[in-house]
Subunit: 233 residues, 2 copies
Amino acid sequence: MKKRPLYEKVKETLLGRLAKDFWRPGELLPSELKLAEEFRVSQGTIRRALDDLVSQNMLTRHQGRGTAVAEHTPFGFFHLFRDDGVRELPESKTLRLSGARANRSERDALELAAGNRVIRILRIRYLNLEPKMLETLTLPQKLFPGLEKISARDLPNTVYRFYEQQFGIPIVGKRERLRAVAATPTEALHLNIEVDTPLMEIECVAFSHKRQPIEWRLSRCLTDEHYYCNSPE
Amino acid sequence: MKKRPLYEKVKETLLGRLAKDFWRPGELLPSELKLAEEFRVSQGTIRRALDDLVSQNMLTRHQGRGTAVAEHTPFGFFHLFRDDGVRELPESKTLRLSGARANRSERDALELAAGNRVIRILRIRYLNLEPKMLETLTLPQKLFPGLEKISARDLPNTVYRFYEQQFGIPIVGKRERLRAVAATPTEALHLNIEVDTPLMEIECVAFSHKRQPIEWRLSRCLTDEHYYCNSPE
DNA sequence: CAGTGGTCTAGACCACGGA
DNA sequence: CCGTGGTCTAGACCACTGG
């Protein structure tokens, strides 16, 4: 029955607090010894839990300072770099936000049964003021009650924190699949390029802590002056 | 002077043995307690070293069985999957192998001084008997003495193990950069596609254990029936 | 069953950061 | 200086694997 390791329980509790903004981003959380006392486990167990959360980019640790809530960098999970290696701040504009019945691809990606509804969001992203990326986000409507009635202008730039804070859904993992594709006429128009220009397509499914699919994202980006990288540089 | 943690020393020693084929791939190495005794450290320290090597895909562990040398899967670091998620065995043919003075890009990628020589290898790779990928490998000649005189036919399909066993150079890390590009006439010819077809370009620098660049690899692949993925699926 | 890795504890000392 | 995380130890019990 209860074969789950202790550190998994600790992780789960801490994840819940992080989702609820129990601590602010950047804030130090209690020391390992304090947490060990609170959870009635040893420091080693706390350490194991914290290490796991650090490797999931939920926390950061600094010797002599403490363990802090990760400042979900302004880049978030944004993986495009300029050719010289410098990272640029992405800007985004939401073009459309609407609800609909999930189609076949969406049901497959989000593991939904037939008939479920989804929310579709179309965004364009800019790097250095140039349009570089067009992306479609698809969310299961039942997990985001009321989101379909929000104005496109009110959707924040970094949506993962938004999911956490407004809907209590922390994103802790993702699976990406990449392809090279040719720009469609619509994409060519938005990105100010010629039809059939090669684009990088990034298909990404984001998961909550128990591997439940939360978001299906299809991005198509221009890599004429940027490259994609998700390794630790 | 010597502030390197103990487990780092252990890792280094074990890595050296793995490179020398001290244990065969798939073979179990001594238990944690045996290793702890040999290295005169605690089991916890050995465990930490082994954990790190496991996360580098050098070892695999199974509760109740032991710790084994990773069977560098027939896929190696090959990251193309068929659209249905199935992994296919890549076949490769070496088209050319030659030595030359390193050009600017090669010196940058491999961190070489001007005047150094490199070995260039041009390969074509097949998936399900269809040509899907053209790649250029560039190696610092001084690290691979005699390799430039080898016949293209004698170069094995999986080169990383070859580097380890013939030249004592274990590859433990890599950095990848991806772009979408248009097929050149040469590539179109080899891959049996039209010029300007979108291709995924994978630029990969492979490192030895102390971050020394060993191989610069530029791959261009057709993603009409495959996708690229380097996350744990 | 014996032996393995997986978890957990309690304690020690060190290296670093900030007041 | 104190408190933090980083390393290391020694020992305990559990869960799984194989013969």
